[in-house]
Amino acid sequence: MTFDVARIRADFPILEREVNGHPLVYLDSANTSQKPRQVLEAMRAHQERHNGNVSRSVHTLGTEATSAYEDARAKIAAFVGAASADEIVFTKNSTEAINLVAYVSAEFLSLGPGDEIVISEMEHHSNIVPWQLLCQRTGATLRWFGVTDDGRLDESTLTDLINERTKFVSLVHMSNILGTINDVSRIVARTHEVGALILLDCSQSVPHLPISVADLGVDFIAFTGHKMLGPTGIGALWGRAELLAAMPPFLGGGSMIETVTMAKTTFAPPPARFEAGTPPITEAIGLGAAVDYLSALDMRAVHEHEQEITAYALKTLADLPGVRVFGPGTAEGRGGTVSFDVAGVHPHDVGQILDDLGVEVRVGHHCARPVCARFGVAAMTRASFYLYTTTDEIDALARGIEQVRKVFA
């Protein structure tokens, strides 16, 4: 089956609208993706026909809701190659998934002064701040990989950075700002050699690449629903079953308990242990439908399409005078997220003029301020692509950038 972009676009109602009198050119999928009709309909059908609370009702609606919620978990587990559905913990988003692991690590890994946590300069703030907080609480030391001039992880310091004091490593799989896809095989091997654990922030990779947690060899991954055709408010933590089973709870409340007395509580096994309170049920079902949609297309085909779009965009941008692309200059080892600078024009102004032409890009520091600092800029303009992006849209971006240069000439 060939990858039919026109047919895919017909599934996304929002792509029919206009912005400021121009057809919408949505180039901000790394921020949040658009949602196909199939996801919107699954959520609506659930609310209209099957709404009940999960895991606590004997009635029919509660049973249907529980079954749909757990089916979604199983689909998502299969989508990332998890050994079992019980290895998927539903969270609000990637941020909550990372915070969960960082928070419980204090006790789980008995962290204290002398212990080290390793991250990188390429991280989203959501994979920096939770670890800073953990280090403040425990006295552990935070260390990080640098980024090379061409926007890749600098692994030259690997054996020094990850050593016998290292207890946890948390790295981004695909950068939300540079587009770099990190091959983490050497880092994973070194992490396990010293007896530490590793989490991969897959917020930008699970939506765009075929992912198998078994092949990655990591201990945890975090990802979020709204960047992969699903709704906001739902994300997931995948963790190895034996690790989740040994971890203490994060939030306390209903659903996560085994027995509660006034004096003490025993906790449910994972994943329930980490899902206190009524979860975002409709959103989980929506994410299940999103996974169905992506699986039917085949993630290899999605990735291949985005590689073509990315190569086209890199070439188009390289041909524009005054435009400098950050990160890897070819589609090799990078995804469809391209950040750039237009000489002499602040990204806010670039984004504003593009918006006037219906072209929606993100501007600013992209919640990755250290990356901007690394490249000596306060902000960047970012165009990001997905399965519905066309080369015509890249051409519209290029015309928009010409207009930016005219206004600021």
């Binding site: 024009v345 806010h348 102004d349 003029i353 006037d356 600013g364 520091h365 902000a379 600021f408």
Partner: protein
């Protein structure tokens, strides 16, 4: 529509800023950051009696925030504290007016060019960044908002 935002006056102030650069001596300084975009401005206020003898500034940011600092310098330098705060109040009212406030050129000078910015809620903070920094710097210089302005 976009022309109302990027008026020639704003682009001129952006490309050729007035009074840019930090100078000493000064009585009060403030550094303000827009956390959502990383724009920043450092602004200093120097006083001679009750007159603002110099407003010097440096910053990083979009055309709107940087042009706004230049216009602020031009409008408030050499004014009495009371006059400066009256202009300040008029500029803030214009920015927060959602495009419904008719600016008075007598009071706001080149600041009237920012009327179009008020129609872009995401950019209002850009225009206000140096003005908020000015307010803090003035307070630190001991010339806080005068009673008749706060009333």
């Amino acid at each position: 529509m976009i022309d109302q935002l990027y008026q020639e006056i704003i682009l001129d102030h952006y490309k050729h800023p007035h009074g840019r650069g930090l100078r000493a001596p000064f009585e009060g300084e403030a550094h303000h950051v827009n956390p959502t975009c990383g724009d920043e401005v450092t602004l200093r206020v120097a006083m001679a009696g009750s007159t603002i003898s110099d407003i010097s500034y440096d910053g990083l940011g979009c055309s709107i925030s940087q042009a706004s600092a230049s216009v602020l310098h031009e409008l408030l330098q050499g004014r009495s504290a009371a006059e400066a705060f009256a202009v300040h109040e008029a500029f803030v009212a214009l920015m927060q007016g959602r495009g419904q406030v008719e600016p008075d050129e007598e009071v706001l000078g080149d600041g009237v060019a920012f009327a179009g910015v008020a129609r872009y809620p995401a950019r209002v903070k850009c225009a206000l960044l140096p003005w908020m920094a000015f307010k803090d710097a003035a307070v630190r210089a001991g010339v806080g908002v005068s009673p008749e302005v706060t009333a």
